[in-house]
């Protein structure tokens, strides 16, 4: 930690695209059977929760996103793209961004294997939808010193794995602040379905209330809202009760003045067009 940069109680609004008061990035972590396969489980029976993403969760959420005309970022595992390439192409054809999320959701220390896994998933997703991903979010939130340099060399422009700030900031790659890569922090703490349902044991309606509190605070403040949900059954929001909460949240957000939905890719491009404004 070099010089600390205390930024005060209410972060000033950066220059958001189109002068928006608030940007909302909806990120969908598909987390299909890749998760179970990565754990060396047979993705059947009680371990078939990832298959729910394929059979019900993603179709259901594509419908919700279309209803609100929201472009989202879908973080996909390479294994899932190999398993159901047509579903990937459906998501892409609906106007959503396909971004990388590991091969089999590998959330453990990968050591020297990591570059090959990043490249493998990159190749699979590129071939599948005909467009190379430019964004990555760590499965399980781990990262090594190798990660960003490899991703940068593959042409990535953002990482969505950090949880340590309220707005985007330039990434440090190979020990130097990069003007070609930006960190788009997620909000695992308060705008992610899994911790609230799995650890917090919240009802869907309580999660909605929490998300709406965040929406109003962020809209009044710095203006960067990064929502994450999983279309799985089990810990996710694939099923009808929790999907309905996503639907209601998007309706509430869409009604806020000056709010703009955008993909992480578009937000990253906006930041990198004027990198000097995003130094931390």
């Amino acid at each position: 930690m070099d010089a600390p940069s205390p930024r005060g109680p209410v972060a000033p609004k950066p220059d958001w695209p189109g002068g928006a008061a608030c940007v909302v990035c909806v990120t969908v972590h598909m987390d299909g059977p890749a998760v179970e396969v990565g754990r060396k489980q047979v993705p059947l029976g009680i371990h078939s929760r990832g298959r729910y993403s394929i059979r019900r969760g993603i179709p259901r959420h594509l419908g919700i996103l279309a209803r609100h005309n929201v472009p989202a970022t879908f973080f996909m595992c390479g294994y899932d793209a190999e398993l159901v390439p047509a579903l990937m192409r459906d998501v892409h054809a609906a106007g959503h961004e396909i971004a990388a999320h590991g091969y089999v959701h590998e959330g453990w220390d990968l050591g020297a294997e990591e570059p090959e896994l990043l490249k493998r998933t990159h190749r699979i997703l590129s071939d599948c939808v005909g467009e190379a991903p430019v964004g990555w979010c760590s499965p399980s939130g781990r990262k090594s010193a190798l990660t960003l340099p490899v991703l940068r060399r593959l042409g990535y422009i953002y990482d969505a794995s950090e949880k340590d700030d309220d707005i985007p900031y330039l990434a440090t790659v190979d020990g130097a602040v990069s003007e070609e890569m930006v960190i788009l922090p997620n909000n695992t703490v308060s705008l992610d379905d899994v911790p609230a349902y799995r650890e917090g044991q919240a009802l869907a309606v309580e999660v909605l209330e929490n998300w709406i509190q965040e929406l109003h605070a962020i809209h009044a403040g710095a203006g960067y809202l990064h929502l994450t949900y999983h279309p799985r059954s089990g810990f996710g929001s694939g099923g009808p009760a929790r999907a309905a909460i996503v639907d209601r949240f998007l309706r509430e957000a869409a009604a806020m003045p000056g709010l703009r939905f955008m993909t992480l890719r578009d937000l990253a491009a906006h930041c990198l067009a004027d990198p000097g404004a995003w130094r931390r």
Partner: protein
């Protein structure tokens, strides 16, 4: 009966993870603590200034080294800086000599940064060894705030630290207790309020503990209203005053080392 609230802040940044993970792993899920340096601590300081609440900040010396400007800001705002170990070493895994060396080093470091010696201590990992109070007593500390065994201040003489007072912390009034379980803001607020309402009337003392981290603490933008409502409730519903821990300890300690709280010998 007077009612006093000790508002305390555990200045945890990357330190808890850095104690067990290599520096190369301090990203993503192991870097929630970065929020403290970039957002959380400054926001808490501004919020406390706006609410006119003095607070006691427990600083590990390693965290002071990571963000010295924020420690200076704490002092400039009139808050108390108290000791919180060096770098989240667990004293129960150390020998007494090693523990003493670490506490002495942290004590000297904080003294040099602040210009005055800290008089209070809180265990950074929550754990104490049988030797801890003796070491703190020898270094001249007047209070500890690590125990969770009472509702009001009491004397630490029987625990080997004559002339020291315990200001017991309360887990129900600690943000990390609830956010560590990933409760929603509203549920966390309900737990905090339930505890405050029941505790303050008992002996007129409550220790509230905050964390400036984004994950475990109340320092996020959306959570600050919860903190403000809690502070306001302590004042307007319970008639409590906010005091620095060192002032509470000084008022409770008699010249003979006895501790009196609200007229009762403790």
């Amino acid at each position: 009966m007077t009612r006093m609230v000790a508002l305390t802040v555990n200045v945890h940044g990357l330190g808890p993870e850095a104690a067990t993970e290599p520096a190369s792993a301090l990203y993503g899920r192991f870097a929630h603590g970065n929020y403290t340096y970039h957002r959380g601590l400054a926001r808490l300081l501004d919020t406390l200034r706006a609410a006119a609440v003095p607070a006691t900040f427990f600083w590990p010396s390693s965290e002071a080294e990571r963000c010295p400007a924020l420690l200076e800001l704490c002092l400039a705002e009139g808050h108390e800086v108290a000791a919180h170990g060096r770098a989240f070493e667990d004293p129960t895994t150390l020998g007494a000599a090693e523990e003493a060396a670490i506490l002495e080093e942290a004590h000297a470091d904080l003294t040099a940064r602040c210009g005055t010696a800290p008089v209070g201590f809180r265990a950074p990992t929550g754990t104490l060894s049988a030797a801890s109070f003796g070491i703190l007593h020898r270094l001249g500390y007047r209070y500890d705030s690590s125990n969770v065994d009472d509702d009001a201040p009491y004397a630490l003489g029987p625990d080997g630290a004559p002339g020291m007072v315990e200001l017991p912390l309360n887990e129900g009034l600690t943000d990390a207790t609830h956010f560590g379980r990933r409760l929603t803001q509203s549920r966390a607020e309900a737990f905090l309020t339930e505890e405050l309402d029941a505790l303050l009337p008992v002996d007129g003392f409550a220790c509230v503990t905050l964390h400036p981290r984004g994950d475990l603490g109340l320092a996020r933008e959306a959570r600050i209203p919860v903190l403000l409502r809690l502070l306001d409730r302590a004042r307007s519903v319970h008639g409590a005053e906010f005091r620095l821990c060192r002032d509470i300890a000084a008022a409770a300690l008699g010249p003979d080392g006895s501790v009196t709280w609200n007229g009762k010998l403790r």
